[in-house]
Amino acid sequence: MDNLITRRRRGELWIGAVILVVLILLPLPIADAYTRNLIIISILFAGLAQAWNILGGYCGQISLGHSLYFGIGAYVSTLLFVRLGVPPLVGMFAGGLIGGLIALLVGWPCFRLSGHYYAIATVVVAEIGYLLFLNWDFVGGAMGVYIPFKGDSWVALQFRTQKLPYHYLVLAFATATWIAAWVIEGSRWGFSWRAVKDDVIAARSLGVRVFPSKMAAAAISGFFTGMGGAIYAQYVGYIDPDSTMNGQLAILIALPAVLGGVGTLWGPFLGAAVLTPLSELSRSYLGGSGRGVDLMLYGLVIVVVALARPAGLVSLFGIRRRPKGVADGSPA
């Protein structure tokens, strides 16, 4: 049994390495900025979805407030850069740390709520954060923060029209989230979290300390989400509460994980690889008509995938990550 698991885990590492190599080479033959942008955004959301998956998937806490950590990360690194000149390469980690910290602060009251009460509480906390930032003049309020362009630089993470550096930056980010998820899957933490997800009471009886488990998951998840926000800010060059903390964003972060396959190593990536291009392409080529066709298509895909593939798109590949014999709920 143990052997089987380690073999499978090693296999996943190999698959990961192959995909990484493919993604490293992928942008080289693609010259046009739009497609490269599409790939960058997809990979960024893959990383964000994986970050969400650590709390939402492995630990089963359906957070719909991850936009808060994303926005905090974006604001921390941007303000450090614009106000204090701290290079974003460093600020990125600061953004992640503060994002993780805020996730702990949010988790402390919210983790005593269960089910939908928890989900709605996360929405509400994120909304409070959004409204406070919107009204907080020190961080630019509604005006947002404009990041002045100071020339190509890896330290400042700014590049005039080049996309390749950003590609490798988001790839590194997504890889980090994947490795984190991989490590967690094999660790005692991962076991505890899955236990918490399946049955809190049973987990407790197995000696899992439920609350600290959730807090740890929240911190890691918040850290990576904040980091993603920081990268986004540097990539777009302008942040405001509407684009970095808005409630829709929280759903966009969770959606690839849910539709790709929650609590799986590949689900969030697969979900992002399908959903992000779908949303971007349909907006670009159908949105111009201004008739909402792109929204209809997008909504339809979500409904159909959720119903037809409740275990996520990964189930198309026959990847089953759940241990055998543990069904979800009664079959009645």
């Binding site: 739009y34 509604a142 404009y146 509407d242 392409l281 907006r283 670009s284 008509s289 201004g290 593939r309």
Partner: protein, 414 residues
């Protein structure tokens, strides 16, 4: 699932083919607007008016007495056509940026026009700066946009500082004329860039003019109710309420004031939602007497003879009259087309030079402006606004007095 993938691939293939199929001699201009989501109403109007502009530029028709009014394509480029490619920003800065980039790199747009909201303009102007393509801001009124040292940013429209200065000038003029001075104002603005920017200038200018700010109310945009906010306006009962709101909230605040039995002495709006048809029909009789600054005067046909012709074409297409936004979008397109024509080239650098050299007298446009001439920040310095007032469901110009078609009336609502 397989089907989804195949259809996606098919869509991508169609896109590639579509990209290559463009006519060789077209000059492509990209237009980024919110075509879905919250700003969709305005974005769709922009799309309609820009398409009207495109038709008037390309097709042969009776000459209209304005800049590029002859039609038949760009004379200095052998009659080449202008082709506008639209993109949907969904009012999201990241998406606006991506779409601008797509229009430049894939559609080979030689200039971008847009974008209604300031947040999207902020990111689009960054892209155009990096790709060195002119960005023609048609309808963004945030003063900060042209103050960031951008080389490729051009704005034909006045910005909020110019607009607000005009409103306070109006207060002064009307006070002198009618002996009805404005002693206090109530600021009422949404919690967005637009609202913050607009109110900041108003606060500053009120202080400079010695006018008391009786209430300073920032409200949450798209709230379910504005009744408590209306209550605060009622308590302040200023001589003039100065709202900065989009359409939905513009309708709502007038209704909310009416619901608590408050008839304001005067309302002077920072255009935006107050200049939309949706507001005029939505607020109905409550809108009577509302004043708004405007960059456009539909009734200034005497001094701007091109208005009826352009308005007729637009109305035939979109079933609405030109308004503050659509007139500015139309004008920005004409100025841009003129620059391309004068440059005699579709190279962005040439177009930029031509734009810098732009000097159009006001009567060559449909706008009541003195003219169009860009300063070193890319801002048109001669875009002089007007003040209008609603009577019988439409706006009529009341200031400057030489353009006025009727006298100012105090009091709001019927």
């Amino acid at each position: 699932m397989k089907r989804i993938v195949t259809s996606l691939l098919a869509a991508a293939a169609a896109v590639v083919v579509h990209g290559q199929a463009r006519a060789a001699d077209d000059v492509v201009i990209g237009a980024v607007y919110p075509l879905t989501g919250n700003g969709a109403a305005v974005g769709l109007d922009a799309k309609a008016v820009l398409e009207v502009g495109q038709d008037l530029l390309n097709n042969k028709h009776d000459a209209i007495p304005m800049l590029m009014g002859k039609g038949g394509g760009l004379a200095h480029l052998g009659g080449a056509h202008i082709r506008i490619v639209f993109a949907d920003s969904q009012n999201d800065p990241q998406k606006a940026r991506a779409e601008a980039e797509r229009l430049i790199t894939q559609e080979h747009a030689v200039a971008i026009i847009g974008s209604y909201t300031s947040a999207t303009a902020a990111t689009i102007s960054q892209v155009t700066e990096r790709y060195e393509v002119p960005y023609m801001s048609a309808d963004n009124s945030s003063p900060s946009l042209n103050q960031r040292g951008l080389k490729w940013f051009f704005r034909t429209s006045p910005h909020d500082e110019m607009f607000t200065a005009a409103m306070f000038q109006f207060f002064k003029d009307i006070g002198a004329k009618t002996g009805h001075p404005v002693k206090s104002v109530a600021l009422f603005y949404e919690d967005s860039i637009f609202g913050s920017d607009s109110s900041a200038v108003q606060r500053k200018l009120a202080g400079a003019a010695g006018i008391n700010v009786a209430a300073d109310i920032k409200y949450r945009a798209s709230s379910p109710s504005l009744s408590a906010e209306a209550q605060r306006l009622k308590a302040a009962d200023a001589d003039v309420i100065m709202p900065s709101s989009y359409t939905s909230d513009a309708i709502l605040i007038l209704r909310a004031m009416n619901e608590i039995g408050y008839k304001p002495k005067a309302v002077m709006a920072q255009a935006a939602g107050f200049q939309e048809q949706g507001f005029l029909t939505g607020a109905g009789p409550l809108a009577e007497g509302v004043m708004s600054r405007s960059s456009f005067a539909l009734d200034a046909t005497k001094s701007r003879p091109a208005i009826p012709a352009v308005n007729a074409v637009y109305k035939a297409k979109n079933n609405k009259d030109l308004n503050d936004n659509t007139s500015r979008e139309f004008t920005a397109l004409m100025v841009l087309a003129d620059a391309v024509d004068r440059a005699g080239s579709a190279k962005p650098d040439d177009i930029r030079k031509a734009l810098i050299a732009t000097n159009v007298p006001g009567n060559q446009t449909i706008m009541p402006w003195a003219g169009i001439k860009f300063d070193e920040t890319g801002q048109n310095t001669e875009g002089t606004p007007v003040v209008q007032q609603v009577t019988n469901g439409t706006y009529h110009t009341i200031w400057p007095f030489d353009l006025a078609v009727q006298e100012t009336v105090w009091g709001v609502g019927k």
